[in-house]
Structure formats: C-alpha cells, structure tokens
Amino acid sequence: MKKKMLSLLLASAMAFSLAACGSDGGSTGSDSADTGNSTAAGSTQSSADSGSAAQDFGSAKDVSMVFSWWGNQIRNERTQASLDLYSTQNPGVTFDTQPAEWSDYWTKLSTLAAGNSLPECIQMDYSYLMQYASSDLLADLTPYVESGVLDVSDVDPGILESGSIDGKVYAVCAGVNAPSLFYNKTLMDELNIEVKDNMTLEEFMDVCRQVYEKSGVKTDLPYSAGDNYLPFNLRSHDTTQLFNEDSLNVPDADSFVEYFSIYETATKEGWIVGADVHAELTANSVEQSPLVYFSSPATQSWCGFFWSNQLSAMVAAAPEGMEIGITTWPSDDPQKSNFLKPSSFFCVSRDAGENEEEAVKVLNFLLNSQEANEILLGERGVPASSVVAAGIAPLQDETAQAVTNYINNVVTPNCSPISPAIPDGANEVYDYCNQLVDKILYGEITAEDAAKELFEKGNEIMAR
C-alpha cells in the first residue's frame, strides 16, 4: 500500500514537472504549435498564471503580450523595431514577438486557437478573416472605435469595411494592396513592345504572343493561384462573390469557361510556362518566379501575377540590370475587376482577455503613429491612414513610391469594392480549381470540361 502511494506520489511529481516544462516551451516558442492539444492547454494555464502574477507583484500596468505575424526578414526587423518603440513609450508593456512563414503561420495559429491560447495581437489575412471571426476567435473592436481608443478617422471607409463582418469591426488594415502584374521592363523595351495599364485579356494575350515570337520568352499565368485570379476574372462578369453559404454563386458552368480557356489557348499556342517547370518551383514565391528565376527562355516569363506590396521583394530578387515594371492584371473590365485589398490586417484575439484594451492601443499605434510608420515604411502596403501615408511618402525609396503611385493613380480611380471574405471550404474549391488548371496544362481536359467539373465538384464541396 505504502509503495503504491509512494509511486503515485512520484508519478504525480514527475507529471507535474513534465507539464511545467511543456508549458514553458509553449509560452516561449513556436514549438507549441506542433505539439497539439495537451501542451497547448498547458500553456494557457501558464500564461494565465503569469498574467495574474504580473498583477500581484508588478505595477498594475505591467503587460506582456504576444504579437504574431507572417512575413519576410525585412518585415520581421521593422515590426520588431516598431514594437520596441511602443515599449519605450509605454513602460511596462513588453512583447513576445513570434514571426513565422506564411504556411506554417496558419497551422500554428489554428492549433493555438484549438488550445484557447491565441496571441493577443495577430496579423490576419483576408482569406481567413471570415473563418476566424465567425468562429468567435477575434475580439469585436467596434466599442473601441466608438470610444476613440482605436482612431479610424483617417481610414478610407471602404478599407475599414473590408475588416468588418456584419457591421462589426474585427480587423484593422495593416496596409493597402492591389493586384499587380510585374513585368520585365528591360526586355519589353528591347523588344519594343508596349505594356499599358488596364489591358484587356485579348490585348494581354497579344503581348504574350509577340514576346514569345520575338524572343522565345514565355508567359507565367497565375499558377496554383485560383484563389486570386479566378475571382478577379469573375468580377469582370459581375460575380463579386463566388460562394454562397452552401453552394457556388454562379448560375452554371459557363461562368468558368473564360478562365480555363485562357490556359487552354496558352497551352495550345505554347507560350505558357508549363506545369512541368512549376513542379520545381515554390508556388507563388517571389524569389522563384519565372520572371526573375530561370535558366533559359523556355523557363523564363516576361511577367508575373503578384500584389503591389511584393514589388520591393521582386526588385530585390531580379538579376542585375533587369528593371521591373508594374501594371494591372488583364481584365475585360478593369473598373469592375480591380480592387484595393488590405495586404493584411491586425486583429486582437478573443484570448487576449484583460489585455484586450492594451492590445487595441497597440493596433492604434501601428495604424496612426507617424513614428511607427517611419519604421515600418509601408512594407505591408500603403498605410491605411491617408495622413500617415502622405507623411511617410517622402521617406520611401523609388520602388515604394512607384507602388504608392500605382495604388493612388492607377487603381484607386478605376476600381470596385473588394469581394466579401471567403467562407469555410472555399480553399478546397480553389485547390480543386488549381488541379483542373494542371490538367489543362497537361492537355488532359478541355476548358469546357474543366468548367463543368469545377461547377459540380465546387457545389459538392460547399454543400458539405
């Protein structure tokens, strides 16, 4: 009996120390994302503990918050610096910053959500906003907007609206973005081909053909990017939202034919960078875009479909002597297709608890502080606050100014509001769409059949 009790005691002691180790790891690093439920639960415990400890022993204002975002090295450095600035201005507030890569970021965030231990401040993407907000994982910021803690007076109403669902503000825009076509300006000048803004599909395809004939350089149509380019195409035909709650919001398969036939035509005429080349590349990576990363004209593209805030990275990735231009994605009705999109948002999570108001203040700081934005320099896109945007413009380099110019003078006068955020299941539909594009590139299916399959399978996925 005694022995049993002893071993039980030892066992519980050990379990306790193990759990303690686990929760330590959980609260300090990104590791916790991988270990799943049990430790995630442990880390909530510990963060709650440390929160109350701070209340007991420190001054009442001592707050430690986790700030998490995805991005690149430049973004990591600048965000860290701006948060450090906030800490100096607000003694007692410290940050545990947790940057991650895009794909890891969402795995990590969803696991943390399952463990009720989301970071206080999170960077949010438009494609996930709806899921997170409707799952009740984000704090409603409307009261703070009304009380003035979050000052949105300088933000364009349309941009503010994009972070709202059912009239409630959940997210603050971290920077304004627009779809943009990057192209090899040096090559186009050499070939004497004009690239103008607001090209129609036919004009764009003519340019592709000319480039291919004159130089053998191909065209990189959006690959593994149905989530971006399919809605862009549909918008020109007045379909602003592809998804209903449990079905596709298009009358029939014909709506998709134009989208797929672009790929079909390009494949038949031979001027598209094929799926065999893409099999070796990281999809949608700036550095591995065939625009700047190629070994021969057959793997080179004269253009790439990206977002305006990626221009700096693209210019940095371009070989020496290659000048990169920026223009709109082709569309038969640019005014309907084009839109301004928050490149990302900042949100406060439901798990922020008593730190909620402090977290909102941080968001307000990043949104409205001139000093903070002089550090961030619009890396996430043109600042949402028009005052701040004007304030930092002179400090930006040539590339960033080109982006601001593109946003302000090319897209803004000629665009429509952004489509509503996508619901659950939409990502799987887009993945299926990408597979169909693959099949077209391999010549296994016609555009009409692909459209039919997408229509059927898409409805089936949404109905689940």
């Binding site: 399952a114 799952s135 799926a275 099999a279 070994s295 990502n427």
Partner: protein, 302 residues
C-alpha cells in the same frame, strides 16, 4: 509489516518493483500523454465535424461516408501503395547487396559502413529533400549528366506524371542503411561450417547464397519488410517538400493528403478519420505479413 515500516526511502526505491516502475515512468508518462491520449482524441475527432477553429460537433459516420465518395482518397491510396510496394523491396535488395559487399572485413569496412549508413540518417531531412529537388530539376545535375552523354533535351523529371514518383522512390531506396546494418549482423550469425560443408559437397557461390544465406536470412528479411512497410506507408517529408503531390496528384501521399485536409482545407475531422483508416490498413498489412510468415520464413534450428 513492522519490519517494512522501518525501511528507508532508499531501500524502498531499491526494490525491483519500484525501481522498475520508476525507471519506466518517463516513457510511460510520455507514452500516455503524447501517444495514447492524442490518439483517443483523434479517434473522437474522426466522428466529428471539426475545423480546429470551432469546437467539434459529433457527426457519426459522416467522415467515413465522405471517404467512400472521395476520388482523391483512392488516388492517394494508390500512390502510397505504389510507392511502398516498389520502394520497400528495392530498398531491401539494395541493403542486402551492400551488406554482402561489406561483410568481408577489410581495413576500410568500418568507414564504408558508416558512409553507407549516412543516407538513412540524413535522407529524411528537409535539406536532402531540397537537394533532391535540385538534382532532378530542369537544369539540375541529372539532366546535365544526361545531356553530356548525348541526350538532346533536358527532361522535366518532377513535372512528368510518369517520372515524378520515381524520384521519391529512388530517394527512399537510397536510405537503405538501417536494413543494411540489420542484414550485416544477421549475416555474421550464419555459421561458417555450413558454407564449408556446402563447398565440400560441390556447391557453387550462387547455390550457397540461394540455399544457405538467403534461407537463413528470411527471419531478418521478414523483420525488415514489416518495419520498412510501415515506414513506407507513413512517408511524408519527401512528398511535402519535393513534389507537394504534383503533378496532377500523381505523387500525393496519403499522409500529405491527411495534412492538407486537416490544416489547409479545414476538415480536421476528416483528416482524423483518414488517419484511422490508415492505421487499420497498416495493421491489416502487418497481419498479412505475419500470417504468410510460415510459408516462406525459415525458423527451424540449424
């Protein structure tokens, strides 16, 4: 009873039973907390509508019904079976050949053994997966070598549905080290007297290998086969990093599809259901391997 009470803590801990419990505790706790409990949770999830973000809702057999209609599910099963069934026997053959070569001791044997074992250690790593991707790319080493040998155009190994899976299979075969080591130690246990007797009877090398070596190795082959089959079905990293299932899902492994469903498409419940079906399949295959054991595995005395 009275005597027992007087024992010090040290003495109590020193008994075989408590020492045993104590020493296995780290494993037991780890096993319970990180294997059994998560497994039970995932079993529950497999009967739920669950997207990670919202709490799971019990939905009965819905996930399993969905699986029956899911064509990608069959596709990934096919790909995974193809991968395991081709790569595992090839790997074992390779392991055996290299083990036979390294069996004869020379001064360099130790170094060779370490060298041949190396791929097993590093082969599953991300770095090697990326290296592999570069090797087989359009301007990669393989194409460069083939071009210098007179091939006219470079081949898109990773971009062709017929060849992409083979790059993964070759990578798997290359990691033959652990099986090789096991074969080596088994080879050493075969008594030389058998070979001497065979030579006296006039058996040539091939007959010796066929009648003695291979026959006495069958228990080891069986063991390796079981272990490697299980590993083969669970292959993940290579696919995720090198091909991501491309092109046209021709290299989409079951585990990667599971990951996609769980974390990318927000069907964590379905992902859990997929995991349990895989567990059942692996258990079934292992059972078959054991059931057929008596047909081909020699376990008689010498």
């Amino acid at each position: 009873m009275k005597k027992k009470k007087q024992r010090t803590l040290r003495q109590k801990l020193n008994t075989e039973r408590s020492a045993g419990i104590l020493c296995t505790l780290p494993f037991t706790i780890g096993f319970l907390a990180f294997m059994i409990v998560p497994m039970c949770i995932s079993l529950y999830y497999s009967f739920c509508d669950y997207n990670i973000l919202t709490p799971p809702v019990f939905s009965g057999l819905k996930n399993f019904k969905r699986m029956i209609e899911d064509s990608v599910f069959y596709q990934t099963l096919f790909v995974t079976f193809k991968f395991a069934i081709i790569s595992v026997p090839l790997r074992l053959v390779f392991a055996l050949i290299v083990a036979m070569l390294l069996f004869k001791s020379t001064k360099m044997t130790g170094i060779y053994r370490a060298m041949y074992y190396l791929p097993s250690i590093i082969g599953g790593s991300v770095a090697v997966a990326i290296l592999w991707k570069r090797l087989f790319s359009l301007d990669g080493l393989i194409n460069k070598i083939l071009m210098s040998l007179g091939m006219k155009e470079s081949v898109a190994w990773l971009g062709d549905t017929r060849t992409a899976i083979w790059t993964l299979i070759i990578l798997a075969v290359w990691q033959f080290g652990s099986s090789m080591l096991i074969f080596l130690s088994a080879l050493k246990q075969i008594p030389t007297s058998l070979y001497e007797a065979a030579r006296v009877d006039g058996a040539n090398g091939w007959q010796q290998f066929w009648k003695i070596t291979l026959k006495l190795l069958t228990p080891t082959i069986h063991f390796n086969l079981v272990m490697q089959m299980i590993n083969g079905f669970l292959a993940f990293t290579q696919c995720l990093i090198i091909t991501q299932g491309k092109p046209l899902n021709s290299t989409l492994f079951y585990t990667v599809y599971m990951y996609q469903q769980s974390f990318l498409f927000g069907s964590t419940g379905y992902g859990a259901a997929l995991a349990w079906v895989m567990l059942a399949l692996i258990a079934f295959i292992t059972w078959i391997l054991f059931a057929t054991k008596k047909l081909w595995v020699y376990d008689g005395g010498l």
